[in-house]
Symmetry: C2
Subunit: 443 residues, 2 copies
Amino acid sequence: MADTIEINPISGFPEWLPNLRLQEERFIDTIRKQYQLFGFTPIETAAVERFNVLTAKTAMQRQIFTLGRPEEGEGEESDLGLHFDLTVPLARYVVQNAEKLVFPFRRYQIQKVWRGERKQRSRFREFYQCDIDVVGRSTLDPIHDAEIPCVINATFEALKLPDFQVQISNRKILGDLIRVAQPDPEQLTKALRAIDKSDRNEVEKTREALAAEGVDARVIPAVLDLTRCDSVAEARKILQTAGAQTGGLDELQAVMESAIALGMPEARLRLNFAIARGLDYYTGTIYETFLVGKEDWGSICSGGRYDDLASFFTTQKYPGVGISIGLTRLFNLLVQSGLVDVSRQAPTQVLVTMQNRAAYLKEYLALARLLRERGIATEVFLEPAGLRGQFGYASSKGIPLAVVAGETEIGQGVVTVKDMRVGKQEIVARDALPDYVLKKLSG
Amino acid sequence: MADTIEINPISGFPEWLPNLRLQEERFIDTIRKQYQLFGFTPIETAAVERFNVLTAKTAMQRQIFTLGRPEEGEGEESDLGLHFDLTVPLARYVVQNAEKLVFPFRRYQIQKVWRGERKQRSRFREFYQCDIDVVGRSTLDPIHDAEIPCVINATFEALKLPDFQVQISNRKILGDLIRVAQPDPEQLTKALRAIDKSDRNEVEKTREALAAEGVDARVIPAVLDLTRCDSVAEARKILQTAGAQTGGLDELQAVMESAIALGMPEARLRLNFAIARGLDYYTGTIYETFLVGKEDWGSICSGGRYDDLASFFTTQKYPGVGISIGLTRLFNLLVQSGLVDVSRQAPTQVLVTMQNRAAYLKEYLALARLLRERGIATEVFLEPAGLRGQFGYASSKGIPLAVVAGETEIGQGVVTVKDMRVGKQEIVARDALPDYVLKKLSG
């Protein structure tokens, strides 16, 4: 026999054991269901894009995995890379299919993305993003910005996570303030960078960061006041005192009011002028989402409003608003914190055990059919083993119910159902089995 | 403004418009649901494997996409490639996690795979595979082979495709026959290759192919008889006349009988000794599935029994049985044949239209919440537009129902529901709306 090949895990490419993958699938299904309830439609783009498309907008070159073909030399493949987010593919898809899409185009997209992170950073190099965007052609009503927090709320509520808070701001507000001193658009980028890097509670450090970035000294005090304030009224005072316009603030106020009218719980929506979002790309409303008590995890769902999705591919304007859940990172943090149910190794709800297979195989198989017809995930234990071994199998897989039927039971038209979770058993009429099981599972 | 980047589609990487992706998702959900009903548990492996793992078993080197990093030079990435199927990753995963899995390990895996096909062949280079396998440690009872056709049957029935047939054979039978003349194991491979290449109805050509491959002339007549025969009794006569053992045939007969006991409809299970399956890998039962009337599409779901899943990674034996649906290819053929519903652009079931937003926005938003709480996918039309434009939006997206509420309706506590599919409308009490909608949608 040839030598066997050693298996070495590849860092940054996470894989879950079945009990975790079962839960990850549940997360994805739940997210998808909520996105659909709000009328978002699915798209999926190829994992692969042309290199010039991937690099059109960003400085992500270093993080792109390119494709090659070992025996083909420099072929077309050297021009291809794996997508690193779902926004660039969305922009390309919208432009490519613009004549066939209905606008506003509401899409969700749940796919893996790949980033060539350095090993040292111990970040994921393959992970799921779960995105929604509403994209208009030429225009998009600002009320769409108000719907997004409601989708976030419905989604995280459905995931049954610890309580959470959507923090909201609007890029224009800081822009309005800075423009009082300097009309240079670079000033906003610099201020955002400084705020992004520092903690809103460390006023002195933020002041230094703003100064270090070269933000005009005349507006620094007002910027600092703004990042620490948490009401519209207070913000309005700060802007008015500084002599700044309040267009951005008016917009934010309208978005928050509409969000609450749309059903967003007030306690879960919080103004925070200190959120900045890394990307230049956003031009209006911005969102970050935090689990209460787990703020150190950073934002688990972020996004915002942008004026122009696809400026690199077309002169047609596509304004939009969207968010992204970095699912793999969130899921991993929840697992590490013991917040994910790890008890089930399979979706199986019932194990039909076997005794005297030669005599009763057909009966066992018929029981399984009876259950599956009612949508109950059922396994028949098909290996040779005693009852004890079969119960052991059910326990180790976390299967909640086991059905036992020996000669006596079969003769009487009944089965014994053992609840593996509590170790108790009951006798049930064969024909009543599916209803009994459904009740047991829902109870 | 900078020049825009031209977008060129990449051949072999399919993407669907929303109406098709909606259906592809439905296909995947349906397949997954059936796999779960039989107690298969989900796993997902990274898209990326080490090159030596990918190439351990096969001559697929040429079809592997390797990864690179443009600015990193020859790093670890040059050792990585995208998986080209889900069997190699399964083998690696089972060996890597053997101590943490429960055997028999029943897993499903629905993921994209990538193959560096030459452009000229116009095959997909990125596509979905939907696999199930049952993997034993050391042993696996043959009755598992009988369950597989039942899973195929349940899955294709649930997909509501045209009628289909699972063709079944067992590699050992041909082996038993050939061994009469020649104990050389290469003879079986040669015979399989010849049968694979030729049409069972063209006896002369198959005869020539067998001779050309160097199959022993003494068994060629019996091989030809076998490939054309379609009953166990007839096959038994051929084997006995040739003086061959019948162990493989006995096994196949038992598998077919058990499959029928498990609920496989007899008319959908057909013996076919001419199916060969490309891969060496299978050692017992083999399956191919054909849509009736679309046999020219080739097999849409294939698989079989193997003695040893992971011989390249471990000396521990892992026998198993499994199948794979090449979903992207099947889905594309169904679309091309007009067999996929393309009428809906979104999962949205109800569009809540708006009039006089300033006065009634809250009422419209509340209607949407009422519907979503009952699981009804609902959009509110948030752009400025007249009723006619809003109905046009509903029509072009294939949204079945539109809710209209003007001043009169709101005053009376009712809404008008327009069924976009037939153009008729009815007045419904506001509180009765969710029940009315659910009934309309199920009717």
